[in-house]
C-alpha cells in the first residue's frame, strides 16, 4: 500500500489534517536506505500535545545530529482519523518518511502520564504490530519506552522490550548506536537485549520474573537472565551546558498547546514536596548557565520566528540568578517583538515587578498553588508556603490591578480532614475580602477560581505507601466544597473526575498483572483516557471484571513499609530509607528544609554530584 496515496484520499475527511502530514520547518527527513537504525519517537497523545513537549525536541535533536541513525515522529491519531485509517487499512506511519511503524527498527514511547497507556496499545494495534513482547518474533520492531512513568514500568512490562530510565539525551543515542552495531553483526533480538541490559539505565522486563505469594503479594523480582543487573540506576545528564539542547526546534504548522520557543533553565527541584514525583525523580538540581540560556534563547527565536518565548523548570524562582536572567531575556524579547512567558514563578515582589513590565495593561490570570487548605496539612506535604505568603501576594496582585486569581489545591492528601477542606474555602473567601477592602467595599469584577485535583500516590515519593481516597470519598469532598464555595460570591469551583484519578493511581503503583487489563481495555476500545470526552469508565470496569483483577486494591490499599514494591529495583537516586523517613515525618507534620540550606541525605549523591547543596 502506498501511504501517500491513501493519505491523500482520506485527509480531507478528518479534522485538522495537518496533524498527519509532517513537513514542518526543521523536521529532519533522512534517507531510509542509508540509515542503519531508524527510530520512531512515539507520543501516545495527539499531535498538539506531543509537539508541546520539550523532551521530544531534545531527543529528536540528539538522535538526528548523529550519523547512521534517524529519529522520526508519530502521534496518536484522533478518533476520527483512527476510524478512517482502520477503514482504509492504512497502518500507523511516521510523519517524516511516511514509513509504516512496523518497518521501523525501534519504536520508543514516551510515558508522560498513566492515562496514556491505552493509547500506547492502541497505537501498536493501529500499526498492525502484535501487542505483547512474547508475540513479536524477530521480524517485528523493538518497542522501547522512557519518561517519568518509566519509574514504575511494570504495568507495561508485557508490551515493552526495554525501558530507558532517567534522562534520555545521552542514553538514547547510545542505545541506537548499540543497535546499529548489533544489526551489522546480524544477531537475534535476545542478544541485542542482553547487550542493552548491560548499558546503565536500561531495564529489560523479560529478564525478570515477578514472584507472588499465595495472598498475591509480590515477594521477589527474580532475575532470569544473567546479563541483567540486580539494580538499575537511572541516567543523569550531568552537564546542562553541553550542546544537547536544540536551537532549531521543529516549528509546527498548526497551532499547538505550547506554540513557542522554550529554554529549560534547570532540571530537578530541591524543595522536597512529598506528593511530587518530579521533585523526587529528577534530582539532583542541575542549572544551565545564564550565558548558555541566553545563547539558546537568542538562536531559538531567530531560527524559529516564534512570537513568544518561555523558560522551563520545576520552580523558576529557584534559579540562582533568576533576576539578571529575566532582565536579559526581557531585553531580548523586546528587541524581537516577542513576548516572554515565565511559568512557575513564586509570587514575590520581584515576580510582580517583572509581570508588570511584561504584561502591562494586559493582565492575564494569576495562579497560586497552596495545594492544601491549612498550615498543618501543608506541613504534612512539605509545601513550604504560609497563609501570610498567600495573602501578601494577593494584596500585591490586587493593588496592581489583577482581577482574576486561580488557586490550585489537592484533596485526599494523607491525614486530611474536613477541617482542611474548610481551609480551602476560607482562603478563597479571605482573598475575596481582600479585594473588597482594596476596592472600597465593592467586589467589582474580581474573581477567584478554585481548582481541585484528586491526590494520586506516586512511586518513588514519600507517599508511595499510602492509600488513595475512594471515588466516593472524593465525590463527597467535591460536593462538600461545592456547597461551601457556592456561598462565596465571586468564586468558581472546578474539580477533576474521581474515576480518572482512581485509574491513574491503579496504574501508577500497579504491577505486571495489570498488563492483562490494559490489553483487554484496548480491545474494548479504550483510548484517550486523559480526555474526559473520550474516557469511558464502564469499559474499564468491564476490563477489570473480565480479567478478574481487583483494580481497587492497587489504589486503595495502604502498603506496608516492609513490603516489596514492584519498582524497588529501580534506583532513582532517592533511597527507600529516605522516603520512609519522610513518610514518618509527614505523619507527624514535620517539615524538611529545602536542601539548598544543607543536605537532607536523600541519597542522590551516590549517583551524581549535587551542586546546589547548601547553596543558600
Amino acid at each position: 500500500m502506498n501511504v501517500n496515496e491513501t493519505l491523500n484520499s482520506l485527509l480531507l475527511r478528518v479534522e485538522k489534517p495537518a496533524r498527519y502530514i509532517g513537513g514542518e520547518l526543521y523536521s529532519v527527513v533522512k534517507d531510509p536506505k542509508t540509515t542503519a537504525t531508524r527510530f520512531a519517537f512515539a507520543f501516545p497523545d495527539m499531535y498538539e500535545i506531543g509537539m508541546s513537549y520539550l523532551g521530544l525536541q531534545i531527543l529528536y535533536h540528539v538522535v538526528n545530529r548523529e550519523e547512521g541513525m534517524a529519529c522520526e515522529r508519530v502521534f496518536a491519531p484522533a478518533p476520527d482519523m483512527e476510524q478512517e485509517m482502520r477503514k482504509a487499512g492504512l497502518p500507523l506511519y511516521t510523519l517524516e518518511n511516511k514509513t509504516p511503524l512496523r518497518e521501523m527498527d525501534i519504536i520508543g514511547f514516551t510515558l508522560q502520564y498513566e492515562m496514556s497507556y491505552s493509547n500506547i496499545l492502541n497505537m501498536l494495534s493501529l500499526s498492525q504490530i502484535p501487542l505483547r513482547v512474547k508475540e513479536r518474533g524477530e521480524e517485528w520492531p523493538l518497542i522501547a519506552a522512557g519518561g517519568p512513568c518509566a519509574c514504575n514500568p511494570e504495568p507495561l512490562a508485557d508490551f515493552i522490550d526495554l525501558f530507558l530510565l532517567g534522562d534520555g539525551e545521552e542514553s538514547l543515542p547510545q542505545l541506537l548506536k548499540l543497535h546499529g552495531q548489533w544489526k551489522r553483526e546480524g544477531g537475534m533480538k535476545k542478544e541485542f537485549l542482553e547487550r542493552a541490559a548491560k548499558m546503565p539505565g536500561v531495564y529489560v522486563p523479560s529478564f525478570y520474573q515477578p514472584v507472588y505469594d499465595e495472598a498475591g503479594a509480590l515477594t521477589e523480582m527474580k532475575k532470569i537472565n544473567s546479563a541483567a543487573p540486580e539494580r538499575i540506576e537511572k541516567r543523569i545528564t550531568a552537564d546542562m551546558d553541553s550542546d544537547v539542547f536544540p536551537q532549531k526546534s521543529i516549528v509546527p504548522l498548526i497551532s499547538v498547546v505550547h506554540d513557542r520557543a522554550v529554554v529549560e533553565i534547570f532540571r530537578g527541584c530541591s524543595r522536597g514536596c512529598r506528593f511530587c514525583q518530579a521533585g523526587m525523580i529528577y534530582r539532583p538540581v542541575r542549572e544551565r548557565s545564564q550565558e548558555r540560556i541566553f545563547e539558546i534563547a537568542q538562536s531559538q527565536l531567530c531560527a524559529t520566528g516564534y512570537e513568544e518565548m518561555s523558560i522551563l523548570s520545576l520552580s523558576s524562582s529557584d534559579y540562582s540568578g533568576i533576576e539578571p536572567l529575566v532582565s536579559r531575556l526581557m531585553c531580548l524579547c523586546r528587541e524581537r517583538d516577542a513576548s516572554l512567558s515565565l511559568p512557575s514563578l513564586r509570587l514575590d515582589s520581584f515576580s510582580f515587578r517583572v509581570m508588570e513590565e511584561i504584561q502591562g495593561y494586559k493582565k492575564t490570570g494569576l495562579t497560586v498553588a497552596p495545594e492544601a487548605g491549612t498550615q498543618r496539612l501543608r506541613d504534612v506535604i512539605n509545601k513550604n508556603i504560609t497563609d501570610n505568603d498567600i495573602y501578601s501576594a494577593m494584596e500585591q496582585a490586587i493593588s496592581l490591578g489583577w482581577t482574576s486569581v486561580k488557586l490550585y489545591f489537592m484533596i485526599g492528601l494523607p491525614t486530611e480532614t474536613y477541617e482542611d477542606l474548610d481551609g480551602i474555602a476560607e482562603i478563597a473567601a479571605n482573598i475575596v475580602e481582600l479585594a473588597k477592602k482594596a476596592n472600597g467595599g465593592k467586589q467589582g469584577r474580581f474573581h477567584v477560581t478554585v481548582s481541585v485535583s484528586n491526590f494520586v500516590p506516586k512511586p518513588h515519593t514519600p507517599f508511595q505507601w499510602c492509600a488513595q481516597n475512594t471515588r466516593e470519598e472524593f465525590e463527597d469532598k467535591h460536593r462538600y466544597l461545592k456547597e461551601k464555595l457556592r456561598k462565596v460570591k465571586g468564586v468558581s469551583f472546578h474539580y477533576h473526575a474521581a474515576d480518572t484519578s482512581h485509574l491513574e493511581a491503579v496504574f501508577a503503583r500497579g504491577d505486571r498483572r495489570l498488563g492483562e487489563v490494559l490489553a483487554r481495555a484496548c480491545e474494548l476500545g479504550c483510548h484517550f483516557d486523559g480526555w474526559h470526552e473520550h474516557f469511558r469508565a464502564s469499559l474499564w470496569e468491564e476490563a477489570f471484571s473480565k480479567t478478574g483483577i481487583d483494580g481497587d486494591a492497587y489504589a486503595l490499599q495502604a502498603r506496608d513499609e516492609e513490603s516489596i514494591l514492584p519498582w524497588d529495583m529501580l534506583d532513582y537516586g532517592v533511597t527507600k530509607q529516605y522516603l520512609q523517613s519522610e513518610w514518618r515525618k509527614a505523619q507527624a507534620a514535620c517539615v524538611t528544609d529545602d536542601c539548598r540550606h544543607g543536605c537532607t541525605g536523600c541519597g542522590i549523591k551516590r549517583l551524581a554530584a549535587c551542586e546546589m547543596e547548601g547553596s543558600l
Binding site: N2, E5, T6, N8, S9, L10, L11, L12, P17, A18, Y20, I21, G22, G23, E24, L25, V251, L253, I254, S255, C302, A303, T304, G305, Y306, E307, R336, D337
Partner: protein
Amino acid sequence: MNRYVLKFRKEGYMRYISHLDLLRLFKRSFSRIGVRLRHSEGFNPHPKMSFVQPLSLGYISKGEYLEFETVHPQDVASMQVRLNAALPEGISVVAIRTEAGKKALSARVACASYTVQFLDGDGGEAFDAGRLCAAIDGFLQQKEILREKKQKTGKFVTQDIRPMIYALRENSQENGSVSLTMEVSAGSNCNLNPEVLLTELFSYAGLSYPRESLRICRDEMYLQPADGSVKIPII
C-alpha cells in the same frame, strides 16, 4: 509606505494547512529572515499582511498572493531568496513586487482560474467522463444557472451563477484521465467556489458528484481593468 505583493505556490502536503496556519507561517518566516512587518495601531496590534483571496483547505495553488507592509524598504529579489530558504517544502515564493495601488488587492481581484483533475483508482469514484464533457457546451448555453444558496442567517436565496462563469473547458489529457479548466468570479464582491460550479455541472449532466476524487488547483488570480476588457494576472 513599503507595500509589497508576493506570489507563491502551495503544493504537496501543504495543501492541508489552513488559512490561519499559513498566515502564522508567513509571519514567522518574515521574522526568521529579519524583515519587520508594519503593525496596525491600537491595543491589539497585528501585522499588516493579508491574503488576496483565501484558498480552501485541500486545494493546491500555483497563484496565491500575499500583500504586506514592512517597516523598512526591502530589496525584493533578495527578500524572495531569503524567504524561500526560510519556508518549508511545499510553499515557495515565485515573485515579489512593490505595490503602489492604494486599494487593497483583495478588493480589486476579479477572477480566478482553476484546474480540476478527477482521479481514478485509489479513492476515486468512477464516472462517465465522456458524458460530462459532452454536457459542457449545453451547460454553458443556458441563459441562467440557478441554485439555492444558504445565507449566513440560515435563509436560502436563489442565485444565478451563469454570469460568474467566464470560461469552462476540458483539457486533452495524455494518460486518458479527464481534467477541466475554469475561469470564474473571485474576490470580495462576487465569488464563485469552483465546487459549486462542478456540482451544478454534474447535476446538469445527470451524474453523481464524485467529491472524493477531485484535485483542485488554483492556477492564477486576475485583476480586471476599469474597461473590463482584458484580464491581467496580479503578477
